[in-house]
């Protein structure tokens, strides 16, 4: 299939990716969805998860992304997320450490632990590890 879908991934640290591709798979708030050419216009919330970009018939790229939203309009996909890292660029050691820290915080009995924050930190770390291993 020809590459006919424009995609742009934007984070607070700048544009991560901009290219014309075949399709992409996005972790929507209501479940994963795939966008191909001539997809209906839509706006969806995006969860922490993995975005898969099909650049050509055989090449695929995987990114670990933070939360945000995804807008599809006239064959242009805009993915606006708080973070986006390519699987090959993920620092596995760092993610492992973050995971351990978050788990320790969740397990501790102290009152001042911010459960919500620790949980989302854990989710992010797990997501990075999963993405790195998906290569």
């Amino acid at each position: 299939m020809a590459a006919e879908l424009e995609i742009e991934i934007v984070t607070p640290f700048g544009k991560t990716y901009e290219k014309t591709i075949v399709s992409c798979t996005v972790p929507g708030a209501l479940g994963q969805f795939q966008v191909l050419k001539d997809h209906a216009d839509m706006l969806s919330a995006v969860d922490i998860g993995q975005v898969r970009l099909q650049e050509g018939d055989t090449t695929e790229k995987v990114l670990a992304t933070g939360g945000g939203f995804c807008e599809v309009k006239n064959n242009k996909v805009r993915l606006i997320v708080e973070s986006a890292e390519f699987a090959e660029a993920i620092d596995v050691e760092r993610a492992k450490k973050a995971k351990e820290r978050a788990e320790k915080r969740l397990a501790s009995e102290e009152d001042d632990v911010d459960i919500v924050r620790a949980k989302s930190a854990l989710l992010r770390a797990l997501n990075r590890l999963k993405t790195a291993q998906a290569l």
Partner: protein, 289 residues
């Protein structure tokens, strides 16, 4: 009158101070450049986020059900004062502190508390019996997005728990390297920018989940972005202010050195003249005898 040695010593000390101020100016300039790069990198993200939220709030009929957009009668106010961790940056911090004090004065009928960002605000207000709810200090050196998320999470939870009905932020806006403006910005309840309400014609969009749920997810993210922008602007403004202050200090030192050098030469000349006069006088006295 100072002795020659004393003047020489003063000139030396001013010159070494001048070297320090010059170096600080250079460092500030480098940090400013970096901060500006971060601001530019944030823009596309911030604009898209703002537009989508504007679009959604314009289309949604149920914005009053969104917790972060609820206006309550104002009883308790939280003022977030964004200063720097370090001094030597001209009026940067005192402008913020003055404006913060004005706001506190204005809300004196209500209950006002402070959220101090940066060591300068924390130091100043903790000595003046202003209740400080929370402080976030000593992080500007390694400023990261996480800091913004942390602050924004604090503020959101204060607002949703009902601890405060209104949250305002006082910060320095980065105009240019030589100009900073103090801005007072309402933070919560969230009010979409009127300019954000773009075309309402886009009604055949698929929304997944419904608009209100998306807004509930996106508004906190938008607020994270706002805090991140404010921290970046304040940091850039701080470096700009420090650059200007250090530039002025370096010039002042130059002037002082010039004046002291003239004074030094004069004093030296006077001493020589005096010595000659004494010798001549002594010789005259010898001749007469």
């Amino acid at each position: 009158m100072a002795t020659l040695r004393e003047i020489r010593k003063r000139i030396g000390s001013i010159k070494s101070t001048q070297q320090i101020t010059k170096a600080m100016k250079m460092v500030a300039a480098a940090k400013l450049r970096k901060a500006q790069e971060n601001i530019v990198a944030l823009r596309p993200y911030a604009y898209r986020m703002r537009d989508v939220i504007g679009h959604l709030t314009a289309l949604s009929e149920k914005t009053s059900e969104i917790p972060l957009m609820q206006h309550r009668p104002v009883e308790q106010v939280l003022i977030v004062s964004v200063t720097s961790d370090r001094g030597l940056c001209g009026g940067f911090n005192s402008n913020i502190i003055r404006q913060t004090s004005h706001r506190i004065e204005e809300y004196k009928e209500k209950e006002v508390e402070l959220y101090a960002v940066g060591r300068k605000a924390q130091e100043f207000f903790s000595r003046r019996n202003v209740p400080i709810k929370q402080d976030r200090i000593n992080f500007f050196n390694h400023l990261a997005f996480e800091h913004a998320v942390q602050i924004s999470k604090d503020l959101i939870s204060y607002f949703t728990s009902g601890a405060y009905d209104r949250i305002e932020i006082v910060y320095n806006e980065f105009k240019s390297a030589v100009q900073q403006n103090v801005i007072v910005e309402p933070f919560l309840p969230f009010v979409p920018d009127p300019e954000m309400a773009e075309d309402k014609t886009q009604v055949d969009f698929i929304y997944e989940p419904d608009k209100e749920t998306i807004l509930n997810v996106l508004i906190p993210k938008h607020l994270n972005t706002q805090i991140w922008r404010i921290l970046l602007e304040s940091y850039a403004a701080e470096q700009g202010a420090r650059m200007t202050a250090m530039e002025n200090a370096t010039e002042n030192a130059e002037e002082l050195v010039d004046n002291l050098t003239i004074y030094y030469n004069r004093t030296r000349q006077a001493a020589i003249t005096k010595e000659i006069a004494e010798i001549v006088g002594g010789a005259e006295a010898l001749k007469e005898s």
